[in-house]
Amino acid sequence: MEFEYLVDGLVRKISVARENEVLILREGEAELRAEVLPLSEEELFLTVDGRGHRVFVLRDEDRTTVFHGGREYVLVHPRRADGAAFRGEEGGPEGGVVKAPMPGKVIKVLVAEGESVRKNQTMLIVEAMKMENEIKAGRECVVRKVHVSVGDLVDAARPLLELE
């Protein structure tokens, strides 16, 4: 089976085959043979070259997060993602739907529907854990819709504003 993941901005194409409990991974010339024992839904025990690794795997819709050996690897699923994940989620809102950078509480709404905003203008302030976070416009645009008001609790998935 073929898989594609986006890791640190690079697409990694791999193919995997299984022979009983041994998983064979090929990436270009490289090959890795691992005996895999699932410990739980989120934990695997992988034996590679006689060495055992306890690996944590968290699956989300757009990404798989793997942790082992003191490192966290974020593997983005390009095929299933709507493209937003592929571009990465950093950088200010440049248009379209603006989402919260973190779960929190809306403490200020500084724009109204129909209002034109300048680049870097603060549109909203969301507070979490005693830290205020300003949400700024990534470019000059018009606020089409304001979905939240002061006091609303928001999570990272909920749309705050729509811009055009």
Binding site: L37, L39, E43, F67, G69, L75, K105, M129, N133, A156
Partner: protein, 503 residues
Amino acid sequence: MFKKILIANRGEIAVRVIRACREMGIRSVAVYSEADRTSLHVQMADEAVPIGPSPAAESYLRMDTIIQAALRTGAEAIHPGYGFLAENAQFSRRTAEAGLVFVGPTASALELVGDKVRARQTMEKAGIPIIPGMKTAAGTAEEFKAAAREIGYPVIVKASAGGGGKGMRIVGREDDLLPALEAGRREAKSAFGDETVYLEKFIQEPRHVEFQVLADSHGRTVHLFERECSIQRRHQKIIEETPSPVLDASLRAEMGETARRAMEAAGYTNAGTVEFLLDRSRRYYFLEVNARLQVEHPVTELVTGVDLVRQQILVAAGERLAFSQEEVRQRGHALECRIYAEDPGQDFLPSPGKIRLLREPKGPGVRLDSGIYAGWDVPIFYDPILAKLVVWAEDRERACRRMAAALDETVILGIKTPVAFLRAIVTHEAFLAGRTSTAFLKTYFEDWAARPSDPDGLRLALAAAAYAETAPRSKPRYGGDGRTPESTPSPWASLGPWRLGGD
């Protein structure tokens, strides 16, 4: 001794105090807001009392509600932890007026050390070195010039109404003084509506060194040596250690004695900390008193063998300190890393949310003071501290290695934490060389980003991800921690309602 204590706090520090109570045979009462109903401190206490809605102002800061909870549950004392009401003189006073004991300093000592100007005057009178500066803020240009010459350049222009760096200007020579005064006044005026500025000596790349003090109510005050807390982000400490890599025996003894005298001058009792700035020529200046148990208290506990929370409770109960200054010894080296719910790769953006996986580090010399568990939702309402990883080893180099290994073992998934960032710091050559100052992170870690650089590790990760993708969501076959209450089928969950014993 008390039979029951109420802990007016949450998170890891509430858990820490509950543990001390349990060991002393004292029953503990937790208080909790709506957001904290399922928190670890609530589970660990002998009793738990709801005190209101999630925002701290409506729960953890409600003095009367908390005092009422103590009276209703029959607690005899209140331990405030750190933050919230810990340094609130009014709370200390009201607790006493209700016939309860406040585990901390008296209201009058809290008032004195909490007032920066009065504290500074008291210390100056007691002969404690303070940062040289102007005594009065008003003055002509000539008076400012004379003052700057007396203080010695570089000086810093500060706003009287100040805070947050607004109105601050660093001046290296006399020619730049007047323009800096004007700019500082303008900025102060627009930020605080008050253009008053004054001058203070500017300490370049200072180290932050503090001394732990314990004082009983019978006149004995001892210090328990220093902690160096120079590694800070946004003026908040993230790594602390003891001993400080820069103090030698004589400077340590001198600063410790100064800290002791400072607390005596303030009429201070219980546990407290005297903070100093140490400049590059190893001159030290009194900064302030932290009138509480501090976040970083465990490093002191590990090198001195003194349980500070236990001592706080003993002192509050009126007992005498059972040891003298000469009997306190520093042994080995201890380091603490603070694990916050935040993303060091995105300017320390807070990262509340559900902890989906948690594996805690273990091993010789490893201590984790934690307020979290897998499956718990880290609320958005409070300070982002989750846990403190503390290690002890024979010397600093070994302590750094032990910390790096313990951080490698630490798995917290579901939210962002600085575990990898902390590991990068404690393995950085400048840190290992002891070149710690408050400018450390700015100098060496300004654009830090976590990058999995190890290709073998990445390939293993890809294999695991692909396996998880193809595997049917099977039941676990080999046990493991499986601390994932949501997804792992548990016999308890499938049994339905059940009772122990039956009645």
